[in-house]
């Protein structure tokens, strides 16, 4: 409950934020704080400097992209995602999944960027972004670069966002007839995920991303048919953890179940 001493800055612009992140050893961005503050309470790991992104209003924007896809500001909160008309039109799965994350209080402050950059293996959004083929825009000292979801997630609490860099935007392609699905087995109703999976189905091909079974989402491209999906998951190289909530075998079995259910939901939609 009692954090170690930490430096704090609240920049007014993205450039200033990037500069602070680059110039200060051990600096980490502070978005909604719904993960990093907990880790600091346990003093399990501690950043030396927190760069508070709260003042960067333009990172909160949610807008339809030119091609009918979606542009989500990294600081958009889950509550914004749940209530956004653009998202309901362009990519309703985001609102549906955001509504299952934690509770009202966390959703009022937790952000899209925070969820995918903390990349806790049980987080909801990394698999959704992987299945949807999202693109992450990362700002750095020498301008912005784009990284695909496949390349973005590197490890637990580790993504392609490097020292001195900042995720500013997530872009999702237009559905164009495709449809999304998500399924999870959770601890209690809408609790922490024991296993989850997201799927995006276009025509008869499914991109399925498995969560909670590895340090990062495991993406499979397979025919959008239940047996094929189950087989693909059974053959996938995953290394699920064993813990209080389930053994590795249980998670391995559930991965096939939630993958099939996510694809089934997507097929209904498309």
């Amino acid at each position: 409950m009692l954090l170690s001493e930490v430096g704090y800055a609240r920049p007014a612009s993205v450039d200033e934020a990037v500069r602070l992140l680059a110039e200060n050893d051990g600096a980490r961005p502070l978005a909604g704080g719904q993960t990093i503050v907990n880790v600091m309470k346990a003093r399990a790991a501690a950043p030396d400097v927190l760069v508070d992104l709260g003042a960067l209003e333009d990172l909160r924007a949610i807008a339809k992209a030119a091609d009918g896809g979606l542009e989500l500001g990294a600081m958009a909160t889950y509550t914004q995602v749940i209530t956004s008309g653009d998202i309901k039109d362009a990519r309703p799965i985001l609102a549906e999944v955001a509504a299952q994350i934690a509770d009202v209080q966390v959703r009022n402050r937790g952000t899209v960027g925070g969820n995918i950059c903390s990349n806790d293996p049980t987080n909801h959004l990394p698999p959704v972004m992987a299945a949807a083929g999202a693109t992450m825009t990362i700002a750095g000292a020498d301008g912005e670069r784009e990284v695909s979801a496949e390349e973005f997630f590197l490890g637990v609490y580790m993504t392609a966002v490097g020292e001195g860099e900042l995720l500013t935007k997530v872009t999702l392609p237009a559905l164009n007839g495709a449809a999304d699905g998500f399924a999870a087995i959770t601890i209690g109703t809408d609790g922490t995920c024991i296993v989850n999976a997201a799927a995006t189905v276009s025509r008869d091909e499914a991109r399925v991303a498995l969560g909670c079974v590895s340090a990062t989402p495991v993406l499979l491209t397979v025919a959008a048919d239940e047996d094929a999906v189950r087989e693909a998951v059974a053959g996938a190289t995953i290394d699920p953890p064993s813990d209080v909530h389930g053994s590795a075998d249980y998670r391995r079995h559930l991965a096939a179940v939630v993958a099939a259910r996510a694809v089934a939901q997507a097929k209904e939609g498309s």
Partner: protein, 821 residues
């Protein structure tokens, strides 16, 4: 035979008792104006942070606090050596070897569970205290931990307490009736090799803590805290601190839930007392959630081995035999009392007469256990309910019918159990019928088919629970004949102040059980005033002199001991008012005076009336000329209630261990997803019988809350340890407490079987919710019968456990054997 002669029950005239009046506690609590210990602040107070052991079992080679003490803003520290020098070990209740255990406020020489406090640091701010705590250098010499109660009893197991030379805290045999006769008479004997009740806790939302002040002038401590059993707390703390009991003033106002977890706080509080004295400054300690899970008390963890149940073909149960192992954790702090408390409900709700129990309690390198809601009785009741369901299924009988055949009948009440306890009143079969009706039991087959059509397995389960209330502490002598504890008591004072206001103080420590409100109802009815006219002081203060040895709020006893103490003090006050008014108004005698609307009136001439204000004024400020026969009238009455107990017989361990037995019969319907083991409670009913209901809404609230604890434990809540002795659910992230979306809609019903053993007919009823664990286990076993008839042998059934039962039903049946004649 020690049946207590039932005295005549005065049905309370339909006054305020029996109605759900608005609660007096609410006004302050809904405005955030309650006073919980962490809200209390003192000028110059230091914040305490405990340095805790990362090891489950290790020797302490050295502790160096110099770096911590050098930090500016750090007021001081405390380590085990100082505690061992300045205090004596806490009083141990057990017989050897358990009695040889030396338990101090901090670890001395050795650490015995991960999270055990090794040193304390006091600093100007909360954050600085934690920073400085990280500078305390402790060198450990890791030892092998033992983490299973059964293994701990085996020769060669690592020994926790070298001075005791064994991990056994207490062991004993209980033999009632004639088990061999039962075997001879039985058509079948059902054997179950292992049943396991898991470790968990009711985790009150407010963690433990205290602000402790030391008054150097009178060498006395004041503890603003949330201890829920101050009477016993002081009995442990005073001798350890080598001071008289009056040197420890315990003050509580609002407590954020207790459920038994705030009974054994004495080690922490003794450390705080030493610090307050050493630094001559108030010290303030707040336990955080992770500290509470890793190092505060847990509920009983009990393993039942080699169960044998002789039974007739028609399902009549004759008795049971079992070897039970109970896990006390690193230190027996309320234990070994749990080794006898289960005997309050030996037969559960059933009429079997032949019992053989071999009971052993051992120490393990885990956090100490202590009374957690349902303490030791819940474990025994779960055992009897599991036996009923397993035997019924193995003999292809309907568990509902087997219950009805074996339930103790209401006409047999008061019913004496095989070990001499007396079930005062109740109608179990009728409660079961109400519960079955509430869940639509007769339409279950249709629902089972509908569920199957959706790929779900439907199951129904019953859970019967007795909530034994008001302990006879004489049962402790069955563990250790030399113990000088027996009976029970509670205290209350009632007085008329100078302006005629009725002021009541209690000895209890409510943590949400609405004592101020329920007390005001009883007092109002007895004095002919309204509850608003009764001022019940909030909380507990040992300075009020309204407490005794067993004061506190625990073990479902307020509705009996608390209210009887209140009734005793109020009747004495009423009698004194009538005697005073009789003299002042010139009536023939006190019996000619009646108390109505805050007045003492002559029955024959109601206009001749003395308002309470006048009575208060006369005695307090205007008492010249009062006749000598009123010399003892003070209008300030203290009453100590003692329940009618005898000391049970040491040899046969026979005798009445509790005064009242409330009943709760629960029934639930679950739907299990065959593919994932995930299950949902689709229907739930709880039927309660706690004798006379003083405040029905409050009784219902207790039923809802206790059921939520049970459903949480049945599916989500567990305290497992890894092989290094690390607790795997050390905070609310992994220890999932049910929230509003997790709870199924609860249907409730009730009947009232007044207890003949106290004048109000009431029964303590806060701990009957364990039935939720029993009925979920039964419902899962019923649902899975079509897929291999697996047996539910554990109290905790998370989704992955149900999936394992679905995958390999035979594995769960390996320990089951039915021998037929």
């Amino acid at each position: 035979m020690t049946t207590v002669a039932p005295d005549q029950v005065e049905a309370p005239q339909k006054g305020f008792a029996g109605t759900s009046i608005p609660r007096k506690e609410d006004k302050r609590l809904v405005q955030g104006e309650g006073v919980f210990f962490d809200d209390v602040k003192r000028h110059g107070m230091g914040y305490v942070h405990f340095v805790r052991s990362p090891y489950a079992h290790a020797g302490i080679v050295s502790i160096d606090v110099s770096a911590a003490e050098a930090v500016e803003g750090v007021y001081g520290t405390l380590i085990g050596e100082e505690v061992a020098a300045q205090t004596d070990p806490f009083f141990e209740m057990s017989t050897p070897p358990g009695s040889e255990i030396r338990d101090y406020a901090l670890a001395v020489g050795k650490v015995r569970f991960a999270g055990e406090p090794v040193a304390a640091v006091v600093a100007e701010t909360r954050e600085l205290a934690r920073d400085a705590a990280e500078l305390v250098e402790v060198e450990y010499e890791p030892l092998e931990p033992v983490l299973d109660a059964v293994a701990a009893a085996e020769p060669g197991a690592p020994i926790l307490h070298d001075e005791a030379g064994s991990n056994v805290v207490w062991s004993g045999k209980f033999e009632w009736g004639d088990f061999d006769e039962a075997l001879a008479e039985a058509d079948h004997v059902v054997k179950i090799d292992r049943l396991y009740f898991h470790r968990f806790s009711s985790t009150p939302l407010e963690c433990a803590g205290a602000l402790v002040e030391y008054d150097k002038g009178i060498a006395q401590w004041t503890l603003h805290c949330n201890h829920q059993m101050p009477g016993i707390g002081i009995v442990w703390m005073a001798p350890a601190l080598r001071v008289g009991t009056d040197k420890l003033r315990i003050v509580t106002q609002d407590i954020g839930g207790g459920f038994g977890n705030k009974i054994t706080l004495h080690p922490y509080f003794v450390a705080l007392c030493l610090l307050a004295r050493k630094l001559n400054r108030p010290v303030h300690w707040t336990e955080w959630r992770t500290d509470q899970h890793t190092a505060n008390t847990h509920g009983n963890e009990r393993t039942f081995l080699d169960v044998e149940v002789p039974v007739k073909a028609d399902g009549t149960m004759l008795g049971f035999k079992v070897r039970a192992f109970d896990d006390a954790g690193a230190f027996p702090r309320y234990e070994p009392l749990g080794c006898i408390i289960w005997a309050q409900v030996t037969p559960g709700c059933y009429r079997w007469r032949h019992v053989l129990v071999d009971f052993t309690q051992t120490c393990t390198n885990k956090s100490p256990t202590a009374p957690n809601r349902g303490y030791s009785r819940m474990q025994q009741l779960w055992f009897t309910e599991r036996v009923i369901d397993v035997v019924a299924h193995e003999l292809d009988l309907d568990p509902v019918e087997v219950r009805k055949r074996n339930y103790i009948k209401s006409e047999e009440m008061p019913y004496e159990t095989p070990n001499g306890c007396v079930y005062d009143s109740g109608d179990y079969a009728r409660c079961l019928d109400i519960a079955l009706d509430l869940i639509g039991y007769d339409k279950l087959e249709e629902r089972r088919k509908d569920a199957e059509s959706r790929g779900k397995l439907l199951g129904v389960g019953i859970g019967s629970t007795l909530d034994s209330g008001t302990n006879n502490f004489g049962q402790s002598q069955l563990l250790n004949p030399e113990l000088q504890f027996s009976g029970n008591n509670e205290v209350a004072t009632a007085r008329l102040d100078i302006f005629g206001e009725v002021v009541v103080t209690l000895g209890t420590t409510p943590q949400g059980q609405s004592h101020e409100t329920v007390t005001s109802q009883v007092v109002a009815d007895l004095l002919g005033i309204t509850p608003d006219d009764v001022h019940v002081r909030a909380g507990h203060d040992s300075y009020w002199n309204s407490h005794a040895g067993f004061s506190g709020t625990y073990a479902s006893q307020f509705a009996v001991t608390g209210l009887e103490a209140v009734k005793g003090a109020t009747l004495e006050l009423a009698s004194q008012i009538r005697r005073l008014a009789s003299v002042i108004l010139g009536a023939d005698g006190p019996d000619d005076i009646v108390l109505e609307e805050g007045m003492a009136k002559r029955k024959d001439m109601p206009e001749a009336a003395l308002p309470f204000m006048a009575c208060g004024a006369i005695i307090n400020v205007n008492n010249a000329g009062l006749p000598p026969e009123l010399d003892d009238v003070t209008l300030n009455c203290r009453y100590v209630y003692r329940p009618p107990f005898q000391v049970p017989d040491h040899e046969t361990k026979f005798g009445n261990l509790t005064l009242t037995y409330a009943t709760q019969i629960h029934a639930c319907v679950v739907e299990v997803d065959r593919e994932t083991g995930v299950y949902e409670i689709v229907d739930y009913a709880a039927v309660d019988d706690c004798g006379t209901r003083i405040h029905p809404q409050i009784v219902e609230g207790q039923v809802h809350g206790a059921t939520a604890h049970a459903l949480g434990a049945a599916t989500f809540e567990t305290f497992p340890y890894d092989e290094d002795g690390m607790l795997l659910t050390s905070n609310f992230y992994d220890y999932h407490v049910p929230h509003a979306l997790d709870m199924p809609p609860l249907k409730t019903g009730f009947i009232e079987s007044p207890s003949p053993f106290n004048s109000l007919g009431t029964k303590g009823m806060g701990e009957g919710g364990g039935a939720g664990i029993h009925c979920v286990c039964a419902a899962i076993q019923d649902a899975l019968r079509p897929v291999g008839n697996p047996v539910v042998t554990e109290s905790h059934n998370p989704y992955h456990r149900v999936w394992e039962l679905l995958q390999d039903p035979a594995a769960s049946r390996a320990g089951i054997e039915v021998t037929g004649r």
